[in-house]
């Protein structure tokens, strides 16, 4: 039994690679895992030698059946758990995982409404899972991503996002520094940016917004002001301000 009474699985790290200067993709082999839907998350539990435990939630970047799950973690400099997962965890190391969790912030391939995804920073992780599910299933539902990052170096999964561009294109937005030759100045997403860079309310898209709490607050209220119904907006707040 790899699944305990509390529903914890044991996962061992089988793959890891850097995504940015502060972030890394980590893939665990999890015996007994029965797959997950796009957008769900897991709880990761770490145990210190003296028995002290810490638990944090992480979105699952991978989708579908299979016993491997990919997470993508951004290091918060003063954090307790994220620096360990980004900098210290080595191939073969084990962590405990509980999930898949969450049945709301989920996109399923049988949905046919247009979909607008909006990510801030590491908030792209569950949305990438949705794009992967969208591509894997050959879904014809329109899907697009607006991805806001500080600088060009902060993009998670840039190459993969570009590969999805024929089925689910990404619009890039930079809040602190833009790439050379970029036509717009760096800055926070404004109401006008949202109007120009997302599907209009007339198309009645289902909207998934994920990122730091302040980002999700600003984008979701901006989209409501543009005329989207709150009922069509689903949010995942990662924390912080």
């Amino acid at each position: 039994m790899t699944r305990t009474a509390m529903g914890w699985f044991t996962g061992s790290l089988v793959n890891a690679h850097p995504l940015t200067e502060s972030a890394r993709s980590i893939t665990f082999a999890v015996p007994g895992w029965t797959g997950n839907a796009a957008g769900q998350h897991v709880d990761v539990r770490l145990t210190a030698p003296d028995g002290y435990q810490a638990v944090r939630s992480y979105s699952i970047a991978s989708v579908g059946a299979g016993e491997e799950i990919e997470l993508a973690i951004d290091r918060l400099p003063d954090g307790e758990v994220s620096p360990f997962l980004v900098d210290d965890l080595e191939l073969g190391d084990r962590v405990e995982l509980r999930g898949p969790l969450g049945g709301w912030f989920v996109w399923r391939p049988d949905q046919c409404k247009p979909v607008q995804l909006v990510a801030g920073g590491s908030g792209v992780v569950p949305l990438l899972a949705m794009m992967r599910a969208h591509t894997d299933s050959g879904s014809l539902a329109p899907m697009r991503l607006l991805y806001s990052i500080r600088t060009p170096d902060d993009a998670f999964f840039r190459d993969e996002l570009l590969r999805h561009s024929s089925t689910s294109p990404t619009t890039w937005h930079y809040s602190r520094a833009v790439p050379p030759g970029w036509s717009r100045a760096a800055g926070r997403l404004t109401a006008e940016d949202l109007r120009v860079e997302t599907l209009p309310p007339e198309q009645v898209p289902l909207i998934y917004i994920c990122g730091p709490t302040g980002f999700v607050e600003a984008v979701s209220s901006g989209l409501v002001e543009l005329g989207h119904s709150a009922e069509n907006i689903r949010t995942e707040r990662f924390g912080g301000n």
């Binding site: 529903g7 002290y52 638990v55 190391d93 969450g102 409501v224 709150a230 907006i233 949010t235």
Partner: protein, 194 residues
Amino acid sequence: MAVFGGQRHRYDNPSLPPGQFLTDSFPVLSAGPTPSIAADDWEFTIRTETGKTRRWNWAQFMALPSEDITVDIHCVTSWSKLGTGWRGVSLDTLFDGVETGFEFVMAHSYGGYTTNLPLEEVLAGRAWIAHEYDGKKLAPEHGGPARLLIPHLYFWKSAKWVRGLVMQDKNAPGFWERNGYNLHGDPWREERYA
């Protein structure tokens, strides 16, 4: 092999339910955008099986006796915050004179959120409609103008932007309870997920 050190709260704290860690911040977790409800448009109702409905507008609600409440709160995503300070109206006050034979309650919020509760657990000084946090008006992202406060259950039960309670015959599930969370949600028994 990497060895996890852990940096915080490395002591056994008897106030901390199993699997919880302490936080000083106040994370925001909601399923959708933060609704903005002006106190002037706010109304709170309790409806029973006969259809009888009690109503309070903001002024009437604020005229009820409020109490200061200091409690620990526990979120299902594993953070706990100890000794948080609130001000609100006890559900005992609001239920005073309400007649019902039903044993369960569905809380409804502005924005469409729902959560189910056993009536017995929201009476006898165990639940409030809170309108202040930390000495200030309750901020919209934390459920303002008013939210349920039911500290002995995981915090998703403390519905933000609450607008009414409807008595129900059976313990029908609310929003998160239909989306993978436990029907009851006692942090001391780790009733997190379905």
